[in-house]
């Protein structure tokens, strides 16, 4: 298991569900103080309630710089510092191929997945510098490594997250900021996002079998597979890991 995260302060976006919720719960379990941030107030408050007194909920639309300022102010007021950011908020779109692409789809997917990650990194780095260092974990995707013809904006946004992560890591390293920045690339996991896509498919069972076939281990992963890696990356044990894209994909990209 990872080293304890006692008294480290974490901000987790997309904390109402999926990877974000599971990461928030795992970080708290390992001793971190956690701010659960999300546009989904009900889900976000529920995650914070599960965590208990070591957590609280703060509303956050990741595409808005003013809301990032507000949530960081709330974290500093509550816990006095900020050590960890997990950029987990993300979306896909069912009509995301190059023929159907329009400005609305592009703006929605790119805004949340990539601009939200940019704004998050931009806002937390000064606070982490004040705290003497920190860890940033950005949720990319297996589609940042292997593309899908039906997900052009999603692939581009996640490819951008991988490159953004390397760039942030490089600039923080050059400044000797002691801030690690890494990206996690999950394969297909049984989260609400994937579950919704399967339900919408003409034959959900066949669609699930197809997704499972991409992974040599023969099954989809779950949010905890990702959350455990995120907790490790936020720990002291991962202090020499930065600018990396780490796959959690059941062997997807290996074959």
């Amino acid at each position: 298991m990872s080293a304890p995260l006692d008294q480290r302060v974490a901000l987790v976006t997309g904390g109402a569900s999926g990877f974000g919720r599971q990461s928030a719960l795992r970080l708290a379990e390992r001793g971190a103080l956690v701010c659960v941030a999300d546009v989904n107030g009900d889900g976000g408050r529920e995650t914070a309630e599960i965590i208990g007194p070591r957590g609280f909920f703060s509303p956050l639309d990741v595409t808005r710089a003013d809301e990032w300022s507000a949530v960081i102010t709330a974290v500093i007021k509550r816990f006095g510092k900020l050590d960890v950011l997990v950029n987990s908020a993300g979306v896909d779109h069912p009509k995301d191929n190059v023929d159907d692409l329009d400005a609305k789809i592009w703006s929605h997917v790119f805004g949340i997945n990539l601009k939200g990650t940019f704004l998050g990194c931009r806002h937390v780095i000064p606070e982490m510098r004040r705290a003497g260092g920190g860890s940033i974990v950005n949720l990319a995707s297996i589609l940042a490594v292997r593309a899908d013809g039906g997900a052009v904006a999603y692939c581009a946004s996640k490819g951008g997250v991988g490159a953004l992560t390397r760039s942030v890591a490089a600039s923080c390293a050059e400044r000797k900021d002691a801030i690690n920045c890494n990206a996690v690339c999950p394969g297909y996991m049984m989260t609400n996002m994937v579950r919704s896509a399967l339900i919408a498919a003409p034959d959900p069972a066949a669609a699930q079998r197809r997704l499972e076939s991409f992974h040599p281990v023969g099954r989809l992963g779950d949010a905890d597979d990702v959350a455990r890696l995120i907790v490790f990356l936020c720990s002291e044990e991962a202090r020499f890991i930065t600018g990396a894209e780490l796959l959690v994909d059941g062997g997807f990209a290996a074959v």
């Binding site: 931009r122 991988g162 490159a163």
Partner: protein
Amino acid sequence: MEKQPARKNQRLALLAGSPGPGLLGIAARLAGDGVGVVLAHPPGNAGGADSGACRSIRLDFGDRAAWVAAMRALDQGSARLAILVNCLGTTEPGTVESVGEQAWDEAMERNVEAFAYSCRAALQCFGATGGAIVNVCSVGGLVAGADSFLPDVAGGAIRLLTKSVALYCLDRGYPVACNCVQSVTHPSTGADYPSAAAALARGPHGAPAAADTAAMVSFLAGLTGCGITGAEFIVDGGRTAR
């Protein structure tokens, strides 16, 4: 005797970007290959006069409909639009902290979203005979610089956008080769991307010239099938081999 439709013999390339020496070098190389070249540059851009074998048009890269209209207008007479070369990148230096929100929005619209719209338009205009799409971006999408945040992020996005478009074409039987060139020099201006100069000093074979990028574009623009598609071609003087 029934009149036969004119056969379209000459291949046309739409070459999009700012008309600097790098872009003109690519244009000259393609023209030397026997391809008709049309340079597309944004309305506010200086220069852009017709030069030699190349025509020049103004095009709002962020306008989805304008891309289709421009390509349809080109695809007339004896020439057939068969090649799209995107050189829309940015060289603006900066870090995640120094780049403002407005600069981010403008760069992503101009450098990534416009690539998607141009690819979409090309698929609509190439027709059954197909064509080649070549997206040119910074090698920073693979290997980051400390002071090249926007070109790095745009490069990373364009890499995966290219692969997604290539797979979409394969899935639907479109005979389109869609590939990505990653360069240390900006495809339009011929200038190095930020941080590239320092990295090149460590490169095994020194700095590649703009002509190296033009040669790679020429090769990829000549592809007629899909045997080589969704791939990345790096022109970096060995930088990423380290």
